[in-house]
C-alpha cells in the first residue's frame, strides 16, 4: 500500500507506522520533520505551510510511488501537514518498510529529498521578534535542493 496525504490535522507517527510493514519486511524507517525553535539564527515561534493543495497531493503520491519502485517495496506512507504549526509539531512523516534495511533507508531519504525539491509547499515563519517571512526555498527540481543551508 502506497499512502500519501496532505493534512491540516496533527500528524500521528503511529498512523504512519501502521501503514507500512509486511510479514516479509524486516526493516522499517520512519522520518519525522519537526518545527524547530530557530532558523538561520533567528528565534522561530511557529510557522504556516501554504500548499498548492491539489498539485501537492499528486506530487506527494508520485514521490511515494517513485521511492517504492526504486527499492521494490509496496509499503511507503508519507503525510505532509499544511496550515499553522507550532514549535515541536511534526511537519512531515515518511514511513517505509522493506525486506532489508538498506532499501528502507534509501527509500526514506529519497522521499524527503524529493519533497524538499519539488513539493509545491511554502513555509512562512513567525519570528520571536514579531516579524514574519517566507522561507526562501528552492527552485523546484533544482539539484542540491534541501540539504543545503539551515533546513532540517
Amino acid at each position: 500500500m502506497i499512502f500519501a496525504d496532505l493534512t491540516r490535522d496533527e500528524i500521528s507517527p503511529q498512523e504512519a507506522l501502521a501503514r507500512v510493514g509486511a510479514p516479509g519486511h524486516g526493516a522499517v524507517v520512519l522520518f519525522l520533520g519537526v518545527v524547530r525553535d530557530h532558523n538561520e539564527g533567528r528565534g522561530v515561534q511557529g510557522l504556516e505551510y501554504e500548499a498548492y493543495e491539489e498539485m501537492a497531493e499528486r506530487v506527494l503520491e508520485e514521490i511515494a510511488r517513485e521511492a517504492a519502485r526504486r527499492v521494490g517495496s509496496d509499503r511507503v506512507a508519507v503525510i505532509h501537514r499544511v496550515g499553522d504549526l507550532a514549535v515541536g509539531d511534526v511537519s512531515v512523516a515518511v514511513a517505509v518498510s522493506t525486506p532489508h534495511r538498506g532499501e528502507a533507508y534509501e527509500a526514506s531519504r529519497y522521499v524527503i529529498e524529493e519533497i524538499k525539491k519539488r513539493l509545491p509547499v511554502w513555509k512562512r515563519e513567525r519570528y520571536a521578534d514579531g516579524e514574519e517571512g517566507w522561507v526562501p526555498g528552492h527552485p523546484p527540481g533544482e539539484a542540491g535542493a534541501g540539504e543545503g543551508g539551515d533546513t532540517p
Binding site: Y52, M55, R58, I115, K116, K117, L119, P120, A145, G146
Partner: protein, 81 residues
C-alpha cells in the same frame, strides 16, 4: 482562449491576488502567458521572467502551448518538508 493562473506564497503577496483569468490568443505558450502577466505593470513586472510553472497540476516547460481551460500555476521556490 481563457486561461486561469494561480499564485502562491511570495508570488501571491507580490501580485496581490491568488488567481487571475486572462484571455490570450490561441497558441499562446506558458512563456507567452508569463510575459503577458509581467506586462500588466506595477508589481507584476517583478514576477520572474522564467519561473517554475505547473499546467494542470504538473510541472511544465515554459515552451508548452496552452489550451482553453488550462490551469497554470506560477510556482515560487518551494520549502516543504
Amino acid at each position: 482562449m481563457r486561461i486561469r493562473t494561480l499564485f502562491f506564497a511570495s508570488f501571491k503577496d507580490l501580485v496581490g491576488t491568488g488567481r487571475i483569468d486572462l484571455d490570450v490568443p490561441d497558441g499562446t505558450t506558458v512563456a507567452g502567458l508569463v510575459s503577458a502577466l509581467r506586462k500588466r505593470g506595477g508589481t507584476w513586472e517583478k514576477l520572474p521572467a522564467e519561473p517554475a510553472v505547473a499546467v494542470n497540476l504538473e510541472y511544465s516547460e515554459l515552451s508548452r502551448a496552452l489550451h482553453h481551460g488550462d490551469e497554470v500555476a506560477v510556482i515560487p521556490p518551494v520549502a516543504g518538508g
